[in-house]
Amino acid sequence: MSKSSFVAEAVKKYGQDRESLMPILQYVYEKKHYLSKEDMQEVAEALDLSSADVYGTASFYSFLDTKEKGEKIIRVCKSISCDLKNKEQIISAIESKLNIKNGQTTPDKKFTLLETNCLGWCHKGPAMLINDNVYTELTPEKAVAAIEENL
Protein backbone atom coordinates (compact mmCIF):
# COMPACT_ATOMS: atom_id res chain seq x y z
CA MET A 1 0.00 0.00 0.00
CA SER A 2 1.59 3.23 -1.08
CA LYS A 3 1.21 5.89 1.56
CA SER A 4 -0.37 9.17 0.60
CA SER A 5 1.94 12.06 1.27
CA PHE A 6 -1.15 14.23 1.68
CA VAL A 7 -2.21 12.40 4.82
CA ALA A 8 1.26 12.81 6.31
CA GLU A 9 1.25 16.51 5.42
CA ALA A 10 -2.17 17.01 6.95
CA VAL A 11 -1.28 15.19 10.16
CA LYS A 12 1.89 17.23 10.45
CA LYS A 13 -0.09 20.43 9.97
CA TYR A 14 -3.07 19.70 12.24
CA GLY A 15 -1.76 17.23 14.80
CA GLN A 16 -2.96 13.84 15.96
CA ASP A 17 -5.86 14.74 18.21
CA ARG A 18 -9.33 13.51 17.40
CA GLU A 19 -10.53 17.10 16.98
CA SER A 20 -8.08 17.44 14.09
CA LEU A 21 -9.89 14.75 12.14
CA MET A 22 -12.17 17.07 10.16
CA PRO A 23 -9.37 19.47 9.12
CA ILE A 24 -7.21 16.47 8.13
CA LEU A 25 -9.96 14.89 6.04
CA GLN A 26 -10.76 18.26 4.48
CA TYR A 27 -7.10 18.78 3.60
CA VAL A 28 -6.75 15.41 1.90
CA TYR A 29 -10.08 15.91 0.15
CA GLU A 30 -8.99 19.26 -1.22
CA LYS A 31 -5.88 17.68 -2.71
CA LYS A 32 -7.46 14.50 -4.07
CA HIS A 33 -11.15 15.41 -4.51
CA TYR A 34 -12.20 12.30 -2.65
CA LEU A 35 -11.14 10.13 0.28
CA SER A 36 -9.92 6.68 -0.68
CA LYS A 37 -10.12 3.65 1.55
CA GLU A 38 -6.34 3.73 1.90
CA ASP A 39 -6.32 7.40 2.89
CA MET A 40 -8.90 6.79 5.59
CA GLN A 41 -6.96 3.79 6.91
CA GLU A 42 -3.81 5.87 7.03
CA VAL A 43 -5.57 8.69 8.87
CA ALA A 44 -6.97 6.14 11.32
CA GLU A 45 -3.51 4.78 11.98
CA ALA A 46 -2.01 8.23 12.49
CA LEU A 47 -4.75 9.30 14.91
CA ASP A 48 -5.00 5.94 16.66
CA LEU A 49 -8.63 5.48 15.70
CA SER A 50 -10.40 2.55 14.07
CA SER A 51 -10.80 2.93 10.32
CA ALA A 52 -14.54 2.40 10.79
CA ASP A 53 -14.58 5.46 13.01
CA VAL A 54 -12.82 7.56 10.37
CA TYR A 55 -15.10 6.23 7.66
CA GLY A 56 -18.10 6.94 9.90
CA THR A 57 -17.11 10.58 10.20
CA ALA A 58 -16.08 11.01 6.56
CA SER A 59 -19.23 9.44 5.14
CA PHE A 60 -21.48 11.66 7.23
CA TYR A 61 -20.55 14.82 5.36
CA SER A 62 -21.82 15.45 1.84
CA PHE A 63 -18.71 17.48 0.97
CA LEU A 64 -16.34 14.64 1.90
CA ASP A 65 -16.94 12.09 -0.82
CA THR A 66 -15.57 8.62 -0.25
CA LYS A 67 -16.07 7.62 -3.89
CA GLU A 68 -13.85 8.94 -6.62
CA LYS A 69 -15.12 12.15 -8.16
CA GLY A 70 -13.94 14.55 -10.85
CA GLU A 71 -11.23 17.12 -10.31
CA LYS A 72 -13.88 19.86 -10.38
CA ILE A 73 -17.10 19.21 -8.57
CA ILE A 74 -20.07 21.22 -9.75
CA ARG A 75 -22.78 21.55 -7.11
CA VAL A 76 -25.97 23.20 -8.31
CA CYS A 77 -28.23 24.47 -5.54
CA LYS A 78 -31.61 22.74 -5.56
CA SER A 79 -33.22 24.44 -2.58
CA ILE A 80 -36.49 26.24 -3.09
CA SER A 81 -35.36 29.77 -4.00
CA CYS A 82 -33.01 28.47 -6.71
CA ASP A 83 -35.64 25.95 -7.76
CA LEU A 84 -38.11 28.81 -8.32
CA LYS A 85 -35.47 30.47 -10.50
CA ASN A 86 -35.31 27.48 -12.85
CA LYS A 87 -32.24 25.62 -11.66
CA GLU A 88 -33.46 22.73 -13.86
CA GLN A 89 -32.43 24.69 -16.94
CA ILE A 90 -28.96 25.19 -15.47
CA ILE A 91 -28.58 21.48 -14.84
CA SER A 92 -29.79 20.64 -18.36
CA ALA A 93 -27.33 23.12 -19.88
CA ILE A 94 -24.42 21.61 -17.93
CA GLU A 95 -25.55 18.08 -18.73
CA SER A 96 -25.51 18.76 -22.45
CA LYS A 97 -22.25 20.72 -22.28
CA LEU A 98 -20.43 17.90 -20.47
CA ASN A 99 -22.44 15.07 -21.96
CA ILE A 100 -23.12 13.53 -18.55
CA LYS A 101 -26.20 13.19 -16.38
CA ASN A 102 -26.70 14.76 -12.99
CA GLY A 103 -24.71 12.67 -10.49
CA GLN A 104 -22.14 11.49 -13.05
CA THR A 105 -18.46 12.19 -13.69
CA THR A 106 -16.99 12.91 -17.12
CA PRO A 107 -14.90 10.01 -18.51
CA ASP A 108 -11.73 12.14 -18.30
CA LYS A 109 -12.46 12.63 -14.55
CA LYS A 110 -12.43 16.38 -14.98
CA PHE A 111 -15.96 17.23 -13.81
CA THR A 112 -18.62 15.75 -11.56
CA LEU A 113 -22.13 17.22 -11.64
CA LEU A 114 -24.15 17.13 -8.43
CA GLU A 115 -27.09 18.88 -6.85
CA THR A 116 -26.73 20.26 -3.36
CA ASN A 117 -28.83 21.85 -0.66
CA CYS A 118 -29.01 25.59 0.01
CA LEU A 119 -25.74 27.38 -0.81
CA GLY A 120 -26.81 30.63 0.85
CA TRP A 121 -27.25 32.72 -2.31
CA CYS A 122 -31.06 32.62 -2.39
CA HIS A 123 -31.39 36.28 -3.42
CA LYS A 124 -29.07 35.65 -6.38
CA GLY A 125 -30.27 32.29 -7.60
CA PRO A 126 -29.78 30.09 -9.37
CA ALA A 127 -26.40 29.46 -7.80
CA MET A 128 -23.72 26.80 -7.99
CA LEU A 129 -20.28 25.96 -6.70
CA ILE A 130 -17.40 24.67 -8.79
CA ASN A 131 -15.16 23.35 -6.03
CA ASP A 132 -15.03 26.38 -3.67
CA ASN A 133 -15.88 29.05 -6.22
CA VAL A 134 -19.35 30.54 -6.26
CA TYR A 135 -21.36 31.37 -9.37
CA THR A 136 -24.64 33.24 -8.95
CA GLU A 137 -27.52 34.65 -11.00
CA LEU A 138 -26.90 31.92 -13.54
CA THR A 139 -28.41 31.58 -16.95
CA PRO A 140 -27.79 28.48 -19.05
CA GLU A 141 -25.23 30.54 -21.02
CA LYS A 142 -23.45 31.75 -17.87
CA ALA A 143 -23.32 28.21 -16.52
CA VAL A 144 -21.72 26.93 -19.72
CA ALA A 145 -19.25 29.83 -19.66
CA ALA A 146 -18.33 28.92 -16.08
CA ILE A 147 -17.60 25.35 -17.15
CA GLU A 148 -15.42 26.58 -20.00
CA GLU A 149 -13.53 28.81 -17.60
CA ASN A 150 -12.70 25.68 -15.60
CA LEU A 151 -11.69 23.47 -18.52
Binding site: Q26, F63, I80, C118, H123
Partner: protein
Protein backbone atom coordinates in the same frame (compact mmCIF):
# COMPACT_ATOMS: atom_id res chain seq x y z
CA UNK B 1 -44.52 50.73 -5.75
CA UNK B 2 -42.91 49.52 -2.59
CA UNK B 3 -39.34 50.55 -3.40
CA UNK B 4 -39.54 54.11 -2.00
CA UNK B 5 -41.04 52.85 1.21
CA UNK B 6 -38.36 50.21 1.38
CA UNK B 7 -35.59 52.78 1.08
CA UNK B 8 -37.05 54.64 4.04
CA UNK B 9 -37.26 51.43 6.00
CA UNK B 10 -33.69 50.49 5.20
CA UNK B 11 -32.37 53.74 6.61
CA UNK B 12 -34.16 53.42 9.90
CA UNK B 13 -31.96 50.79 11.44
CA UNK B 14 -28.32 50.25 10.72
CA UNK B 15 -26.68 48.35 13.54
CA UNK B 16 -25.23 45.30 11.86
CA UNK B 17 -23.66 46.69 8.71
CA UNK B 18 -22.62 50.13 9.99
CA UNK B 19 -18.92 50.90 10.27
CA UNK B 20 -17.89 51.38 13.87
CA UNK B 21 -14.71 52.08 15.75
CA UNK B 22 -14.31 48.52 16.96
CA UNK B 23 -11.16 49.26 18.93
CA UNK B 24 -13.04 51.83 20.97
CA UNK B 25 -15.90 49.41 21.67
CA UNK B 26 -13.37 46.76 22.69
CA UNK B 27 -11.75 49.25 25.09
CA UNK B 28 -15.09 50.09 26.61
CA UNK B 29 -16.03 46.41 27.00
CA UNK B 30 -12.73 45.44 28.59
CA UNK B 31 -13.17 48.21 31.15
CA UNK B 32 -16.64 46.91 32.00
CA UNK B 33 -16.96 44.08 34.50
CA UNK B 34 -18.39 40.72 33.46
CA UNK B 35 -21.35 41.28 35.79
CA UNK B 36 -22.17 44.62 34.24
CA UNK B 37 -21.95 43.24 30.71
CA UNK B 38 -24.32 40.42 31.61
CA UNK B 39 -26.70 42.88 33.28
CA UNK B 40 -26.69 45.07 30.20
CA UNK B 41 -27.43 42.14 27.90
CA UNK B 42 -30.21 40.86 30.12
CA UNK B 43 -31.69 44.37 30.26
CA UNK B 44 -31.61 44.54 26.46
CA UNK B 45 -33.72 41.36 26.30
CA UNK B 46 -31.73 40.20 23.30
CA UNK B 47 -32.46 36.64 22.23
CA UNK B 48 -30.32 34.49 19.98
CA UNK B 49 -30.61 35.42 16.33
CA UNK B 50 -29.99 31.95 14.89
CA UNK B 51 -33.60 30.90 15.29
CA UNK B 52 -34.01 29.22 18.67
CA UNK B 53 -34.13 32.54 20.50
CA UNK B 54 -32.49 31.72 23.82
CA UNK B 55 -31.82 34.87 25.90
CA UNK B 56 -28.17 35.73 25.19
CA UNK B 57 -27.53 37.44 28.52
CA UNK B 58 -28.60 34.31 30.41
CA UNK B 59 -26.45 32.07 28.23
CA UNK B 60 -23.38 34.16 29.01
CA UNK B 61 -24.34 34.30 32.67
CA UNK B 62 -24.56 30.51 32.92
CA UNK B 63 -21.21 30.11 31.19
CA UNK B 64 -19.61 32.76 33.41
CA UNK B 65 -20.85 30.93 36.52
CA UNK B 66 -19.15 27.67 35.55
CA UNK B 67 -15.90 26.92 37.31
CA UNK B 68 -13.50 25.48 34.78
CA UNK B 69 -9.86 25.73 33.74
CA UNK B 70 -10.96 26.12 30.15
CA UNK B 71 -13.96 27.65 28.39
CA UNK B 72 -14.73 28.10 24.72
CA UNK B 73 -16.56 30.69 22.65
CA UNK B 74 -17.95 29.42 19.36
CA UNK B 75 -19.48 31.46 16.58
CA UNK B 76 -22.04 29.41 14.72
CA UNK B 77 -21.56 30.32 11.06
CA UNK B 78 -23.06 27.09 9.74
CA UNK B 79 -25.85 28.98 8.08
CA UNK B 80 -27.74 26.24 6.25
CA UNK B 81 -31.42 27.05 6.56
CA UNK B 82 -32.87 27.38 3.07
CA UNK B 83 -33.54 31.04 2.41
CA UNK B 84 -30.90 32.34 4.81
CA UNK B 85 -27.77 34.14 3.68
CA UNK B 86 -27.31 37.00 6.13
CA UNK B 87 -24.42 35.47 8.11
CA UNK B 88 -22.34 35.20 4.95
CA UNK B 89 -22.96 38.87 4.25
CA UNK B 90 -22.14 39.88 7.83
CA UNK B 91 -18.87 37.92 7.80
CA UNK B 92 -18.08 39.31 4.38
CA UNK B 93 -18.77 42.95 5.26
CA UNK B 94 -18.32 43.28 9.02
CA UNK B 95 -16.18 40.40 10.23
CA UNK B 96 -14.42 42.55 12.85
CA UNK B 97 -17.73 43.22 14.57
CA UNK B 98 -18.30 39.47 14.82
CA UNK B 99 -14.83 38.93 16.32
CA UNK B 100 -15.53 41.84 18.63
CA UNK B 101 -18.67 40.19 19.98
CA UNK B 102 -16.71 36.98 20.49
CA UNK B 103 -13.92 38.78 22.33
CA UNK B 104 -16.43 40.54 24.58
CA UNK B 105 -18.01 37.17 25.31
CA UNK B 106 -14.57 35.70 26.11
CA UNK B 107 -13.87 38.57 28.49
CA UNK B 108 -17.29 38.07 30.11
CA UNK B 109 -17.27 34.31 30.60
CA UNK B 110 -13.52 33.90 31.05
CA UNK B 111 -12.42 32.14 27.88
CA UNK B 112 -9.14 32.26 26.01
CA UNK B 113 -10.08 30.25 22.93
CA UNK B 114 -12.69 30.85 20.27
CA UNK B 115 -13.77 29.21 17.04
CA UNK B 116 -15.78 30.22 14.05
CA UNK B 117 -17.51 27.16 12.62
CA UNK B 118 -17.96 28.22 9.02
CA UNK B 119 -20.02 26.10 6.66
CA UNK B 120 -18.00 24.52 3.85
CA UNK B 121 -20.14 26.33 1.28
CA UNK B 122 -18.57 29.60 2.48
CA UNK B 123 -14.97 28.44 2.26
CA UNK B 124 -14.21 31.21 -0.21
CA UNK B 125 -14.43 33.63 2.75
CA UNK B 126 -11.52 32.03 4.60
CA UNK B 127 -8.58 34.03 3.14
CA UNK B 128 -10.18 37.40 3.92
CA UNK B 129 -11.32 36.25 7.36
CA UNK B 130 -7.79 35.03 8.20
CA UNK B 131 -6.43 38.42 7.21
CA UNK B 132 -8.93 40.28 9.36
CA UNK B 133 -8.28 37.92 12.24
CA UNK B 134 -4.58 38.67 12.10
CA UNK B 135 -5.28 42.39 12.57
CA UNK B 136 -7.80 41.66 15.27
CA UNK B 137 -5.43 39.42 17.20
CA UNK B 138 -2.78 42.15 17.12
CA UNK B 139 -5.20 44.51 18.79
CA UNK B 140 -6.14 41.93 21.42
CA UNK B 141 -2.48 41.43 22.18
CA UNK B 142 -1.98 45.17 22.55
CA UNK B 143 -4.94 45.28 24.95
CA UNK B 144 -3.56 42.24 26.78
CA UNK B 145 -6.67 40.14 26.26
CA UNK B 146 -5.60 36.52 26.03
CA UNK B 147 -8.03 35.27 23.41
CA UNK B 148 -7.44 33.59 20.08
CA UNK B 149 -9.99 32.83 17.37
CA UNK B 150 -9.53 30.04 14.82
CA UNK B 151 -11.69 29.01 11.88
CA UNK B 152 -13.10 25.50 11.52
CA UNK B 153 -14.90 24.44 8.40
CA UNK B 154 -18.02 22.36 8.03
CA UNK B 155 -18.43 19.96 5.13
CA UNK B 156 -21.99 20.27 3.93
CA UNK B 157 -24.22 19.10 6.76
CA UNK B 158 -27.24 21.24 7.68
CA UNK B 159 -27.68 19.53 11.04
CA UNK B 160 -24.32 20.89 12.21
CA UNK B 161 -26.06 24.23 12.72
CA UNK B 162 -27.56 22.56 15.79
CA UNK B 163 -25.10 23.54 18.48
CA UNK B 164 -24.34 20.11 19.90
CA UNK B 165 -23.99 18.60 16.41
CA UNK B 166 -21.63 21.46 15.63
CA UNK B 167 -19.56 20.56 18.67
CA UNK B 168 -19.52 16.87 17.70
CA UNK B 169 -18.29 17.88 14.26
CA UNK B 170 -15.55 20.03 15.77
CA UNK B 171 -14.49 17.06 17.85
CA UNK B 172 -14.02 15.04 14.66
CA UNK B 173 -17.22 13.04 14.79
CA UNK B 174 -20.41 12.62 12.80
CA UNK B 175 -22.60 15.67 13.25
CA UNK B 176 -25.14 13.92 15.43
CA UNK B 177 -26.83 16.08 18.07
CA UNK B 178 -26.34 15.19 21.74
CA UNK B 179 -28.96 14.78 24.39
CA UNK B 180 -29.56 17.93 26.41
CA UNK B 181 -28.96 18.52 29.25
CA UNK B 182 -26.11 18.99 29.77
CA UNK B 183 -26.21 22.14 27.70
CA UNK B 184 -23.02 23.41 26.07
CA UNK B 185 -22.68 26.20 28.64
CA UNK B 186 -22.05 23.41 31.16
CA UNK B 187 -20.40 20.77 28.99
CA UNK B 188 -19.68 21.71 25.41
CA UNK B 189 -16.57 21.46 23.25
CA UNK B 190 -14.24 18.80 24.73
CA UNK B 191 -16.54 18.69 27.74
CA UNK B 192 -15.78 22.28 28.73
CA UNK B 193 -18.26 25.14 29.24
CA UNK B 194 -18.94 26.59 25.81
CA UNK B 195 -20.94 29.53 24.54
CA UNK B 196 -22.32 28.96 21.05
CA UNK B 197 -23.91 32.01 19.46
CA UNK B 198 -24.99 32.93 15.98
CA UNK B 199 -22.92 35.37 13.87
CA UNK B 200 -25.58 38.07 14.09
CA UNK B 201 -26.02 37.66 17.85
CA UNK B 202 -22.35 38.42 18.45
CA UNK B 203 -22.61 41.65 16.45
CA UNK B 204 -25.70 42.75 18.38
CA UNK B 205 -24.02 42.11 21.73
CA UNK B 206 -21.19 44.43 20.68
CA UNK B 207 -23.66 47.08 19.51
CA UNK B 208 -25.66 46.82 22.74
CA UNK B 209 -22.51 47.46 24.75
CA UNK B 210 -21.66 50.38 22.50
CA UNK B 211 -25.05 52.13 22.60
CA UNK B 212 -26.59 50.74 25.78
CA UNK B 213 -29.47 48.37 26.25
CA UNK B 214 -32.04 51.15 26.34
CA UNK B 215 -31.59 52.08 22.71
CA UNK B 216 -31.91 48.44 21.67
CA UNK B 217 -35.03 48.00 23.80
CA UNK B 218 -36.76 50.88 22.08
CA UNK B 219 -36.95 48.73 18.98
CA UNK B 220 -39.32 45.82 18.63
CA UNK B 221 -42.01 44.58 20.98
CA UNK B 222 -42.21 43.28 24.53
CA UNK B 223 -41.39 39.69 23.51
CA UNK B 224 -39.12 40.54 20.62
CA UNK B 225 -36.81 43.40 21.42
CA UNK B 226 -34.55 44.97 18.87
CA UNK B 227 -34.03 44.46 15.19
CA UNK B 228 -33.07 41.52 13.06
CA UNK B 229 -31.39 40.88 9.76
CA UNK B 230 -33.78 39.32 7.26
CA UNK B 231 -32.84 37.35 4.18
CA UNK B 232 -35.53 37.97 1.58
CA UNK B 233 -35.89 35.74 -1.48
CA UNK B 234 -38.41 34.06 -3.74
CA UNK B 235 -41.03 36.00 -5.70
CA UNK B 236 -40.04 39.53 -4.77
CA UNK B 237 -38.80 42.52 -6.73
CA UNK B 238 -36.48 43.31 -3.81
CA UNK B 239 -34.51 40.20 -2.84
CA UNK B 240 -31.63 40.77 -0.48
CA UNK B 241 -30.62 41.46 3.11
CA UNK B 242 -32.51 43.92 5.27
CA UNK B 243 -32.24 44.90 8.90
CA UNK B 244 -35.76 45.46 10.18
CA UNK B 245 -37.45 46.02 13.50
CA UNK B 246 -38.97 42.88 15.02
CA UNK B 247 -42.71 42.74 15.60
CA UNK B 248 -43.92 43.90 12.21
CA UNK B 249 -46.91 42.10 10.74
CA UNK B 250 -46.56 39.94 7.68
CA UNK B 251 -48.97 42.31 5.98
CA UNK B 252 -46.51 45.18 6.41
CA UNK B 253 -43.69 42.92 5.28
CA UNK B 254 -45.50 41.85 2.13
CA UNK B 255 -46.34 45.46 1.35
CA UNK B 256 -42.61 46.16 1.27
CA UNK B 257 -41.41 43.01 -0.43
CA UNK B 258 -44.32 41.42 -2.27
CA UNK B 259 -44.74 41.46 -6.03
CA UNK B 260 -48.44 42.31 -5.76
CA UNK B 261 -49.46 38.69 -6.09
CA UNK B 262 -48.03 37.12 -2.94
CA UNK B 263 -49.93 33.99 -2.04
CA UNK B 264 -47.84 32.79 0.88
CA UNK B 265 -44.70 33.57 2.85
CA UNK B 266 -42.48 30.90 4.35
CA UNK B 267 -41.23 32.43 7.59
CA UNK B 268 -38.11 30.84 9.07
CA UNK B 269 -37.03 28.67 6.16
CA UNK B 270 -37.81 25.02 5.59
CA UNK B 271 -38.03 24.50 9.35
CA UNK B 272 -40.40 27.45 9.71
CA UNK B 273 -44.05 28.10 8.94
CA UNK B 274 -45.96 28.80 5.77
CA UNK B 275 -48.41 31.66 6.16
CA UNK B 276 -51.19 32.12 3.57
CA UNK B 277 -52.38 35.53 2.38
CA UNK B 278 -55.54 35.55 4.53
CA UNK B 279 -53.42 35.39 7.69
CA UNK B 280 -50.90 38.14 6.77
CA UNK B 281 -52.69 40.79 8.85
CA UNK B 282 -52.77 38.83 12.09
CA UNK B 283 -49.28 37.30 11.86
CA UNK B 284 -46.50 39.01 13.77
CA UNK B 285 -42.87 38.37 12.85
CA UNK B 286 -41.26 37.78 16.21
CA UNK B 287 -41.26 35.48 19.20
CA UNK B 288 -44.92 36.22 20.02
CA UNK B 289 -45.91 35.28 16.48
CA UNK B 290 -43.67 33.38 14.13
CA UNK B 291 -39.99 33.62 14.95
CA UNK B 292 -37.40 33.43 12.21
CA UNK B 293 -33.67 33.04 11.95
CA UNK B 294 -34.04 35.52 9.12
CA UNK B 295 -35.32 33.44 6.24
CA UNK B 296 -38.31 35.00 4.47
CA UNK B 297 -39.37 33.38 1.21
CA UNK B 298 -42.25 34.76 -0.80
CA UNK B 299 -44.37 32.72 -3.18
CA UNK B 300 -46.78 34.19 -5.70
CA UNK B 301 -49.89 32.60 -7.13
CA UNK B 302 -47.98 30.94 -9.98
CA UNK B 303 -46.31 28.57 -7.50
CA UNK B 304 -47.47 25.11 -6.52
CA UNK B 305 -47.31 24.72 -2.77
CA UNK B 306 -47.11 20.97 -3.32
CA UNK B 307 -43.78 21.53 -5.06
CA UNK B 308 -42.64 23.77 -2.23
CA UNK B 309 -43.52 21.15 0.38
CA UNK B 310 -41.93 18.40 -1.72
CA UNK B 311 -38.73 20.46 -1.94
CA UNK B 312 -38.64 21.01 1.84
CA UNK B 313 -39.30 17.35 2.68
CA UNK B 314 -36.69 16.19 0.20
CA UNK B 315 -34.28 18.56 1.95
CA UNK B 316 -35.08 17.14 5.39
CA UNK B 317 -34.80 13.53 4.19
CA UNK B 318 -31.27 14.28 3.05
CA UNK B 319 -30.26 16.40 6.01
CA UNK B 320 -31.72 14.36 8.87
CA UNK B 321 -28.67 12.87 10.59
CA UNK B 322 -30.52 9.56 10.85
CA UNK B 323 -29.66 9.06 14.49
CA UNK B 324 -33.19 9.01 15.90
CA UNK B 325 -36.07 7.11 14.34
CA UNK B 326 -38.89 9.70 14.57
CA UNK B 327 -36.90 12.12 12.43
CA UNK B 328 -35.23 9.66 10.06
CA UNK B 329 -38.32 7.60 9.29
CA UNK B 330 -40.75 10.47 9.81
CA UNK B 331 -39.18 12.64 7.11
CA UNK B 332 -39.18 9.75 4.64
CA UNK B 333 -42.77 8.80 5.34
CA UNK B 334 -44.00 12.39 5.01
CA UNK B 335 -42.35 12.70 1.62
CA UNK B 336 -43.57 9.30 0.40
CA UNK B 337 -46.99 10.13 1.79
CA UNK B 338 -47.58 13.34 -0.13
CA UNK B 339 -46.27 11.73 -3.32
CA UNK B 340 -48.71 8.83 -2.83
CA UNK B 341 -51.65 11.15 -2.17
CA UNK B 342 -50.80 13.22 -5.23
CA UNK B 343 -50.65 10.04 -7.34
CA UNK B 344 -54.00 8.92 -5.88
CA UNK B 345 -52.36 5.81 -4.47
CA UNK B 346 -53.59 6.91 -1.06
CA UNK B 347 -56.86 8.67 -0.17
CA UNK B 348 -56.66 12.33 0.80
CA UNK B 349 -57.64 11.27 4.32
CA UNK B 350 -54.13 9.82 4.60
CA UNK B 351 -52.83 13.36 5.10
CA UNK B 352 -54.56 13.32 8.48
CA UNK B 353 -52.64 10.18 9.44
CA UNK B 354 -49.42 11.89 8.45
CA UNK B 355 -50.37 14.89 10.57
CA UNK B 356 -50.84 12.51 13.47
CA UNK B 357 -47.35 11.18 12.89
CA UNK B 358 -45.92 14.70 13.01
CA UNK B 359 -47.08 14.88 16.62
CA UNK B 360 -44.73 12.00 17.37
CA UNK B 361 -41.93 13.71 15.50
CA UNK B 362 -42.49 16.90 17.48
CA UNK B 363 -42.51 15.20 20.85
CA UNK B 364 -39.87 12.53 20.39
CA UNK B 365 -37.24 13.75 17.92
CA UNK B 366 -33.93 14.34 19.59
CA UNK B 367 -33.14 17.77 18.20
CA UNK B 368 -34.68 20.81 16.59
CA UNK B 369 -34.41 19.37 13.10
CA UNK B 370 -36.93 16.57 13.55
CA UNK B 371 -39.01 18.65 15.94
CA UNK B 372 -39.49 21.40 13.39
CA UNK B 373 -40.19 19.37 10.23
CA UNK B 374 -43.89 19.32 11.26
CA UNK B 375 -43.96 23.14 11.00
CA UNK B 376 -43.74 23.31 7.23
CA UNK B 377 -45.75 20.12 6.77
CA UNK B 378 -48.73 21.10 8.89
CA UNK B 379 -48.83 24.73 7.83
CA UNK B 380 -48.79 23.85 4.13
CA UNK B 381 -51.29 20.97 4.50
CA UNK B 382 -53.63 23.09 6.62
CA UNK B 383 -53.58 26.08 4.31
CA UNK B 384 -53.07 24.57 0.88
CA UNK B 385 -54.58 21.12 1.17
CA UNK B 386 -56.25 21.22 -2.25
CA UNK B 387 -52.90 21.95 -3.91
CA UNK B 388 -51.35 18.95 -2.25
CA UNK B 389 -54.21 16.59 -3.14
CA UNK B 390 -55.06 17.66 -6.71
Amino acid sequence: MSTDKLQKFKKRIDLIFSDVNWKEILDKALKTSADDIIKELIASCIRGRGGAGFPTGLKWKFAAQQKSDKKYVICNADEGEPGTFKDREILDKQAKKVFLGMAICAHTVGSDEGYIYLRGEYKFLVPQLEKELEEFHKELKAKKLDFKISIRLGSGAYVCGEETALIESMEGRRGEPRNKPPFPVVSGYLGKPTVVNNVETFVYTAMILKDGSKQFCELGTKDSRGSKVFSVSGDTPNPGIYELELGMTLDEFVELFGDGDTKAVQVGGASGFCVPRRKFKETIIGFEGIPTGGSMMLFNSSRSMYNVLHNFLDFFCEESCGQCTPCRVGCQQLLKGIVAVKAKEKPSKYLEDLKGMTETMKSSSKCGLGQSVPNCFNSIIDNFKEEVIY
